[in-house]
């Protein structure tokens, strides 16, 4: 057997080029939707609506970035929606108890860290599948949140906190700035640091990563802690936006986050993903929802369109990958 004859390497497209191409395609799709809605409606390109759209997409985008870290390790985090609701309760509760705002924020984020660490503990030490452990916390956290609030909501009276989500900075909603605040470190972490490489390696082949000296357990802890912390951060933003802590908020957001991530090119089999992909995915979903509202499309159709979009985009992504092999 001569090595040259079995080589298909020459036909395999260099990976980075493909990734950029896919990102540009998503960006093109997003711009196309924006142009389309601009022509189809009078109200789309109004400052009010654009701000609204950016606010809508921001929270899903942050969840999707955290979710992507987990999916790259070939895991899944079903709990993020519940974590958002739970942490909104926590921050409202802390503020109601007279804890200063800065301490309330730090403590709430610390809860995110703890929840993520618990997920990783379940996976690494107890050997539970990620799907199961995060499904369990999805249910339990909602229950704990409801116990704390006794089934009702906790109002937030701290105006500095509630004004934040309505504020603009340089004409852009502060919530969208938060996406940038998360995305830049996330990009550095995933694409420029060695820990990002380890996430990919663990997702691709954890045994090979381990035998190459990668601390697989630590990498899994890192991924789940980041996901839950992103979710806790979104919980803060949501509490600020709606002015209450309520454990039943953010129902189904975990699926929005997973959908955004997958539309953004993340592979549920692990080892494929980026930071810009899920961001674009989240805003594509937000645009579809926003546009459907403006066009007075039955909101039930939004769900159907979202489902169809997931199938189409992931199918084309699969085709692309197969031809790249």
């Amino acid at each position: 057997m001569s090595a040259e004859t079995v080589e298909s390497g020459a036909s395999a497209a260099p990976r980075k080029g493909v990734s950029i191409l896919f990102g540009l395609t998503l960006l093109g799709l997003l711009l196309f939707l924006w142009l389309l809605l601009g022509f189809a409606t009078n109200s789309f390109w109004t400052p009010n609506n654009i701000s609204n759209l950016l606010r809508q997409g921001a929270m899903t985008a942050i969840l999707a970035v955290g979710q992507t870290f987990v999916i790259i390790t070939a895991g899944i985090d079903l709990s993020v929606g519940a974590v958002v609701g739970f942490t909104s309760v926590i921050v409202a509760w802390l503020l109601a108890a007279g804890v200063p705002l800065w301490a309330a924020i730090i403590l709430t984020l610390a809860f995110g860290v703890l929840i993520g660490a618990f997920h990783a503990f379940g996976i690494v030490r107890m050997g539970l599948p990620p799907f199961i452990i995060t499904l369990a916390t999805l249910t339990s956290l909602r229950g704990i949140g409801l116990l704390i609030t006794n089934g009702s909501t906790i109002s937030i009276t701290n105006e500095a906190f509630t004004n934040f989500s309505r504020a603009d900075f340089l004409g852009v909603p502060s919530l969208f700035w938060m996406v940038i605040v998360v995305a830049i470190p996330a990009y550095i972490f995933l694409h420029l640091s060695r820990f990002g490489r380890y996430l990919f390696a663990v997702g691709s082949n954890s045994e090979a990563a381990r035998l190459s000296g990668v601390n697989v357990h630590r990498t899994i802890y890192l991924a789940y802690i980041l996901s839950s912390t992103c979710a806790a951060f979104v919980g803060l933003l949501l509490a600020s936006r709606i002015g209450i802590g309520n454990a039943t908020q953010a129902e189904g957001w975990e699926l929005q986050a997973i959908a955004s991530s997958v539309i953004g090119g993340t592979s549920l089999f692990g080892a494929v993903g980026s930071v810009h992909g899920p961001l674009l995915g989240a805003f594509i979903l937000a645009t579809i929802n926003n546009g459907a509202n403006l066009l007075n499309v039955n909101s039930f159709w939004q769900r159907i369109i979202t489902g169809a979009l997931i199938i189409v985009i992931v199918y084309f992504d699969q085709l692309r990958r197969r031809s790249a092999r």
Binding site: M1, T5, R197, F200, A201, E207, A208, L211, S212, R325
Partner: protein, 517 residues
């Protein structure tokens, strides 16, 4: 077998009673004429002509990679032949699908049990051929029928038990019983006793003899010479994909068979340079762990220590134990004279141990990631400046290994899965060359690797030795360790059973020690 016939009578559908003795005993039942199988350019089975006689027990022996499993897969319709003809009862047949093979009465019992572990013994025995009445399964009838078959065969097994609760050996007996009750005329056993206890083996042999008495033709594949001589009427030897001979069992002996098995036509050049042995790099004293017991050996700078044995003999397990992947349970490791506890892979790497593991696919590479990332995986901590990786160093490091090792790829960004076996092995080696080590463990480094790359890998060994490294070379391919190792240790069933200096023992002697005849 009247019991079996009755069992079939209770069925209302799916009935397939094959007539036994389609050809008279002693006449050819299955004939292979110039049967050949190629995978790409690799010839897994060179044109082989072989005749199986009705009612005989025909043993097939050969080393790992000699083409035995290819032959089984061809006969059971799992893979399609490249060329040649197969005659069944005198007529040419396709044997293109497993269904066709089963319908003709050709069955195989594999070394790894391929049944459903969560179903009961009875359900497994009737799988795909269930007893039905009005479209509903008759569980009780199947359990009773299965129990009668098992009792009749003399297996002390409960038909109602879940298969997974039985030992591997017992599962193997179930698989055999399943094949036996399906009107099988031609039954292939692939190393059936590998996991069996002595008692279970005896039960299996009784069953085989009984099937033979009923006219079933048996093909028996085994490493164990004593079994071949106990059971077989005739024996065929495969070597490097070639059928090198068939002997009547009374007209041959173990020495002749072993000579046939290994007397290969070696065209590869085993590049070997001798260096004066230096200081002791690592010494294990009575090291035991999962899969290996009581292993004591030393590796010096400038020498290759070969570990030879059959697959599952404990060599790879020993390597993983030494590398910190599995915690040794007893014994000591001395690294350059100092006692060490290697509790993790990281500790092993920091000491200076590198491991190119047995399976590139499962242990060696992140296949769906780029070559560059794979090469740099052990050294990202060194490439990191502050928070981020130094991109230029990362690229240079990958490109240097690709260049030095002549990995045939247009770019470091190509996925590792797009590479051939030889180039994949080079990526694994490149990983450890860029990391650097004092002791290199190569586990089966040339499996699935083309001849040219093999020679390159052997020359690389010499370069490593020259720089003062030591090498542990693990191989199931005797000529490789035989020609390269300065000291050769033979493993059998988890233990180090013999040690030889460079070329001090004959091939026959080493193989005999590994097989344990």
């Amino acid at each position: 077998m009247t019991e079996l016939q009755e069992d079939r009578d209770v069925r209302t559908e799916g009935l397939q009673v094959a007539t036994r003795h389609p050809v008279p005993k002693g006449e050819p039942i299955l004939e292979l004429r110039a049967l050949q199988k190629k995978y790409g350019l690799v010839e897994a089975l060179k044109p082989a002509s072989l005749t199986f006689l009705s009612g005989e027990i025909h043993a097939i022996v050969g080393e790992n990679g000699a083409g035995k499993s290819t032959l089984i897969k061809l006969l059971t319709g799992v893979i399609k032949r490249t060329s040649g003809e197969i005659f069944w009862c005198g007529k040419p047949v396709q044997l293109g699908t497993p269904q066709e093979a089963i319908e003709r009465g050709i069955n195989a019992v594999h070394q790894e049990v391929v049944l459903c572990a969560h179903l009961t013994v009875a359900a497994n025995m009737f799988l795909g051929d269930e007893i039905n009445r009005n479209g509903l399964m008759r569980k009780r009838a199947m359990t009773d029928a299965a129990q009668r078959v098992l009792d009749d065969l003399g297996f002390n097994l409960p038909a109602g038990a879940v298969l997974g609760s039985l030992t591997i050996g017992q599962q193997q007996l179930v698989a055999t019983a399943r094949a036996a009750m399906r009107g099988t005329q031609f039954l292939i056993f692939d190393e059936p006793t590998a996991y069996l206890t002595r008692q279970e083996s005896a039960q299996l042999f009784r069953l085989i003899r009984r099937l033979q008495a009923e006219g079933v033709t048996i093909v028996y594949i085994s490493h164990r010479m004593e079994e071949v001589f106990e059971l077989a009427d005739r024996v065929s030897v495969l070597r490097d994909g070639t059928h090198v001979g068939t002997r009547r069992i009374g007209e041959t002996n173990e020495a002749e068979l072993i000579a046939l098995m290994i007397n290969r036509t070696i065209e590869q050049i085993y590049h070997k340079e001798h260096f004066p042995p230096g200081e002791v790099i690592v010494e294990t004293r009575n090291l035991s762990g999962p899969g290996f017991q009581d292993v004591s050996l030393t590796v010096r700078a400038g020498e290759i220590v070969g570990l030879y044995g059959l697959i599952g003999a404990g060599r790879s397990e020993f390597a993983l134990g030494l590398y910190g992947r599995h915690r040794p349970s007893a014994g000591e490791v001395y690294w350059q004279g100092r006692k060490v506890e290697i509790a993790s892979e990281r500790i092993a790497m920091d000491l200076g141990i590198a491991l190119a593991p047995e399976s590139r696919r499962d242990q060696g590479l992140c296949l769906n990631l780029p070559i560059g990332l794979n090469i740099n995986l052990p050294v990202f901590n060194r490439l990191t400046r502050g928070l981020t990786i130094n991109g230029q160093q990362e690229r240079e490091n990958a490109d240097r290994q690709i260049r030095d090792l002549k990995i045939k790829t247009p770019s470091r960004r190509v996925l590792a899965s797009a590479m051939s076996g030889g180039n994949q092995q080079k990526i694994v080696i490149g990983k450890w060359l860029s990391h650097g080590a004092k002791l290199f463990i190569f586990d089966e480094p040339t499996v699935g690797v083309d001849v040219g790359t093999k020679a390159e890998i052997y020359r690389l060994f010499a370069r490593l030795l020259e720089k003062g490294a030591g090498i542990i070379l693990i191989s199931s391919y005797l000529p490789e360790v035989y020609e390269l190792a300065d000291r050769l240790h033979v493993f059998r069933r988890g233990r180090l059973v013999a040690s030889h200096d460079y070329r001090a023992a004959s091939h026959e002697e080493v193989l005999t020690q590994a097989i344990g005849v």
